[in-house]
Amino acid sequence: MTTFSDMETVSDVETVPQDLLIVLRHPPHGSQWLREGLDVALVAAAFGQRVGLLFQGDGVYALLKGQQAGALGQKGTHPQIAMLEMYDIDTLWASETALAERGLSADDLMLPVVPLNAEAVAECFALHPHALIF
């Protein structure tokens, strides 16, 4: 099992900043925030914008493996996550703190993410010309 503490923490944002940073702070299913944030990301990408995603707080649960449809058949957000690559959204950052506090390792997640420490999260915000928080 690869835990994030085994991985080298990225202390500066190695990946080239994108045109638009979408920050996802809410977990799936409980509210519509995650879905609507991902919708903006997918639409912006379809419009030719290069989009980076940053998962903070409970937002990292969006990446958890094994999600299903919810109450009364409510669609989850995992199909949107699975579509990211098709839309050329492959820049996925996550707060290292958020992952560690929730005991999440790379094996728990649907997609690979680059864990960022606090300094790198701030850099991520600073380098992007546009940012939207959901």
């Binding site: 409980g30 509210s31 519509q32 919810g70 109450a71 009364l72 058949g73 409510q74 669609k75």
Partner: protein
């Protein structure tokens, strides 16, 4: 278990928070479990669940229709707080004409009522279960 009467209080807006779905799912479980669902009271942003205009995608649950079915099959009364509803644009034909509006958004079996009916529902039923965002 002897039959109990239930009232539900729903505060959550539809299609924004799971609580709107949780309430409907619980309501269906109540009647399937042999109990009587007497009253559903829609308050706060929960009043939007009574909108006759909601048009969700076909592969998503239609919340207002879900409540209507519970009314038709089990007689649950669907009470919408009039004070919370009016300011949010959730009103029936009679309130619409009283406010000079040509359009309305609430149709039977949803009924506009006062908060007093919530107090009544709490006192008159064996259980009151709240779902909030």
């Amino acid at each position: 278990m002897p039959m109990l009467t239930y009232a539900l209080l729903l505060h959550a807006a539809p299609y924004s928070h799971q609580a709107a779905l949780s309430a409907l799912r619980f309501a269906e479980t109540v009647v399937a479990g042999g109990h009587r669902l007497k009253t559903v009271f829609f308050y706060h942003d929960g009043v939007h669940n009574a909108s006759a205009l909601m048009s969700p995608p076909q592969d998503e649950v239609h919340l207002a229709d879900g409540w209507k079915r519970l009314h038709e099959a089990h007689g649950a009364e669907l009470l919408v707080c009039v004070a919370a509803g009016l300011r949010r644009g959730v009103l029936d034909t009679s309130e619409a004409s009283r406010h000079g509006l040509a359009v309305h958004s609430v149709e039977p079996p949803f009924e506009l009522t006062g908060v007093g009916q919530l107090v009544d529902a709490m006192l008159a039923n064996d259980r009151l279960i709240t779902f909030a965002p």
